[in-house]
């Protein structure tokens, strides 16, 4: 084949352009840390990348949601703890009051304490966290009870607060206040206080049993809550694992392998230098240089 100077320069230019474009690719990879910079570089990686990113965003969000559930549960738990403690104290008072050795004036003192405890229980039932009433279902603007501890049928709300903690998994974050504080909860306490007031020993004795019923409901609800807390812990662990896995897969999918990219760049650079050196020698001389 007949080769002319023009062809050599053309070929040299096109080879150098190719070489520059590969170096540009490796440089891009090293600068951005990504194997690809646009979907057409590798559609398969790109689409998988979009999926992984969505997955990761979801896991991150579910983790956020889970801490929100945590907050609800911790607050409900400590509130129920207070309820049980209050009720046990009332039961203690009832046991003391039922004992014949106490005088009427002592029972009146007990009554004063019982009334304090009742007020305390009302305030627990109307507990507010972050400006939300935690025991009135989704109606977080309205307290469960009025200040006398009366639960009106209109204002009570038993709808569970369900929060997404994983795909298609919703966890109830709140405790149904109406179940704990409803029914005969305050009637039992009021009866007990009434019995103390009227120095009615049999009434007081009866209160030991009715208060136990109150304690049972609140303990049951707390156990229920505890079970959900355990489930939440499991889910949180799983979310942590999922986050690590998703990040890892995403990184494997689209992040550049630095050792490889640097080696590629160095190889390309060597080839580029060789091409430049060869080209610069070939394009220089013509016959003209040797004719005198």
């Amino acid at each position: 084949m007949r080769i002319t100077q023009g062809m050599i320069s053309n070929n040299m230019m096109s080879n150098l352009t190719k070489s520059y474009s590969s170096m540009n690719k490796y440089m891009d990879q090293l600068n951005t840390g990504k194997k690809i910079s646009k979907p057409s570089d590798n559609p398969f990686i790109a689409i998988k990348g979009l999926d992984y990113r969505t997955q990761l965003a979801q896991v991150e969000q579910y983790k956020g949601n889970a801490s929100e559930v945590d907050l609800w549960m911790d607050n409900s738990d400590s509130a129920l703890n207070g309820v049980t403690a209050g009720l046990q104290r009332l039961q203690d008072l009832a046991r003391q009051g039922a004992n014949g050795t106490y005088s009427e004036s002592e029972r009146l003192n007990m009554k004063a304490e019982a009334e304090q405890i009742k007020d305390d229980l009302i305030s627990i039932a109307n507990r507010k966290v972050n400006d939300r009433y935690i025991f009135n279902g989704t109606d977080t603007k309205t307290p469960l009870l009025d200040k006398d501890g009366v639960m009106s049928e209109d204002s009570k709300n038993q709808k569970p607060i369900l929060i997404h903690v994983a795909e298609n998994i919703e966890l109830q974050a709140n405790v149904d206040g109406a179940k704990v504080f409803g029914g005969d909860f305050f009637k039992n306490i009021d009866d007990f206080i009434q019995a103390l007031d009227s120095n009615d020993q049999t009434g007081i004795g009866k209160a030991i049993g009715t208060l136990q019923a109150n304690i049972d409901t609140s303990v049951n609800e707390r156990a229920n809550l505890g079970a959900r807390m355990n489930r939440l812990d499991l889910i949180k662990n799983r979310l942590d694992n999922q986050e690590i896995t998703a990040t890892d897969i995403m990184s494997k999918n689209e992040n550049v392998d630095y050792e490889k990219a640097i080696t590629d760049l160095l190889t390309q650079e060597t080839m580029h230098r060789a091409a430049l050196a060869a080209g610069s020698r070939v394009i220089q001389p013509t016959l003209v240089d040797f004719l005198r």
């Binding site: 979009l50 579910y62 939300r132 977080t140």
Partner: protein, 540 residues
């Protein structure tokens, strides 16, 4: 045998070698001229003496009478030209297509982590989920609404950008200018090239019958034909320009559209007789649009001089003819006949249509869910039907149908985020509907609105993946075709390009011959000097 035979022969030799030197000089001057083919003087020995005739002198013969320049010819291979042009049509097609698709991709680059529709959708989804856990939080509510606005704006941005490029593609195809009565763009380029080629045909047709070879005109014509082959696939045949033209003369170029396999069609773009017509009478390309749509209806070819030469390439028939014009129309949009149905297709048209379908169905599904929720109730209000959510996504211009371009968030909701209806029972702490709104993006839409088991995000990924695969294919073809084209171009250069070394060698060759001829003339001169000044002086 004449006394001055030698002198005359030496003179001829000087002239001929000089011509060789001049042609070498011409070649060297044009060493960097695009499309130039090296030329060579065909030396021929002159007719010998004596020739056969009754009164021929009776001498031994025949005696050589020297050299003359037969023809000046360019060195070129017509077969390589036709190979080059076939490849050129393909390369130009893929290059133009790749450019258009790369531009589309630059506006839909979902790999960009700070931007893109997927990113804004993820953000919107997250903010709705956050809101579902904190329905009372006014901040979270505002963020959710604003992220909805971002989603709408992402749709708007992509759609407007794509429409802008689409408009640009239409400009590149070429539009008719009523003042100049001519097309611009690729159509205009093709028309101008036809005129210029016709003009060269005319000049060549005048020169050739005189027995000359208009090499430089040939080169210019070949370059123009190369250029035309990048716009549309053509076949070139040559017709003799006249009875007295040389056998090795190229002749008049006749250009036809060519089929995929390279065979000529009967659509003649430029005929041999066209060189007798004025510029405004030869055939010209044109395009027709489908009214009201972003689509090309047909490519027309109108010959003012002879309406028999008119033809029209309708619907997707233009896909047969490779070249940049095909790529532009194919990416812009065109009419396709499917059975009895006509439909508008094309890369940009299709992508925009898919985006519109996505925007419309997403907005519809989102609004449906939003309308099941209750807005934030004010003191004393109850959860009645008139407190249910209104449309969250609306159109910018108030028109009935939602498209990607006019998707917007209701301005009322933007001003009063309380109108975002996320409560399923009207209670403040209820965020159930927010969860359902978030699900609109990730769960398959009902009634298979976007295809079976396809969610909004999934459908968008389909759009991206189709675009990415198409763009990748085009980019790869460009790389491959460039290699092929360079190979053919090298073959062509190998035949036609000027080599400086070779020309220098020729230069010396001719110079030596010139010097030798001059010496031979000196010898003749000395002989004549002897005859004239020294003969007949015996003994003086």
């Amino acid at each position: 045998m004449s006394t001055f035979h030698g002198l005359e022969m030496a003179k001829q030799a000087l002239f001929t070698q000089q011509m060789g030197l001049y042609t070498t000089g011409h070649n060297l001057s044009n060493v960097n001229t695009e499309g130039f083919s090296r030329q060579r003087v065909n030396f021929e020995a002159m007719s010998p003496f004596p020739s056969a005739s009754r009164n021929r002198p009776s001498i031994p013969g025949q005696l050589g009478t020297g050299v003359m320049a037969g023809t000046v010819q360019r060195i070129r291979d017509a077969y390589l030209d036709s190979q080059y042009r076939t490849q050129n049509s393909k390369t130009a097609y893929w290059e133009t297509r790749a450019t258009a698709l790369n531009r589309m991709e630059s506006f839909m680059n979902e790999m960009d982590e700070t931007n893109g529709l997927s990113k804004t959708m993820n953000d919107f989804w997250k903010s709705l989920e956050t809101l579902s856990t904190n329905p009372e939080n006014a901040g979270a509510r505002g963020v959710a609404v604003e992220n909805g606005v971002m989603v709408a704006e992402s749709f708007n941005h992509i759609a407007t950008s794509l429409e802008q490029i689409q408009k640009d593609l239409r400009t590149q195809i070429g539009t008719y200018n009523d003042d100049t009565k001519e097309y611009d763009g690729k159509i205009g380029d093709a028309n101008a090239l036809l005129k210029q080629i016709n003009d060269l045909n005319k000049q060549i047709g005048e020169v050739e019958p005189l027995g000359y070879l208009p090499n430089d005109l040939y080169d210019r014509r070949d370059r123009l034909i190369d250029e035309l082959s990048s716009i549309i696939k053509i076949d070139v045949k040559y017709e003799k320009s006249g009875d007295s033209s040389l056998k090795i003369a190229d002749g008049i170029a006749v250009i036809r559209l060519a089929n995929q396999d390279g065979t000529p069609t009967n659509h003649v773009l430029l005929s041999a007789t066209d060189r007798n017509l004025t510029d405004d009478k030869i055939g010209q390309f044109g395009v027709t649009d489908v009214s009201g749509k972003n689509a090309i209806g047909s490519i027309t070819f109108t010959k003012a001089g002879d309406s028999n030469g008119n033809f029209e390439i309708e619907n997707d028939d233009f896909l047969k003819y490779d070249g940049s014009l095909k790529a532009l129309i194919e990416t812009y949009g065109y009419v396709k006949q499917e059975g009895t149905e006509t439909k508008i297709t094309g890369d940009f048209s299709d992508t925009l249509e898919r985006l519109n379908k996505l925007a419309e169905n997403f907005a519809k599904a989102f609004n449906e869910v939003h309308q099941t929720g209750y807005v934030v109730l004010k003191e004393g209000e109850t959860a009645t039907d008139d407190k249910k959510g209104k449309a969250f996504f609306v159109t910018k211009d108030g028109s009935g149908s939602i498209t990607a371009k006019n998707l917007a968030v209701s301005s009322e909701i933007r001003e009063h985020p309380d109108l975002l209806a996320i409560s399923s029972d009207g209670k403040f702490g209820n965020g159930d509907v927010a969860k359902k709104l978030a699900e609109v993006m990730t769960e398959p839409l009902k009634d298979n609105a976007l295809g079976s088991q396809t969610s909004v995000k999934g459908y968008f990924q389909q759009i991206i993946s189709k675009m990415a695969v198409d763009t990748r294919a085009a980019n790869q073809r460009v790389a491959n075709d460039n290699v092929l084209q360079q190979k053919i171009q090298n073959d062509r250069l190998s035949v036609s390009a000027v080599s400086i070394d070779e020309e220098m060698t020729n230069l010396l060759k001719f110079q030596h011959a010139y010097n030798a001829s001059a010496r031979s003339m000196t010898a003749m001169d000395e002989i004549l000097d002897k005859i004239i000044n020294s003969m007949g002086l015996v003994g003086r």
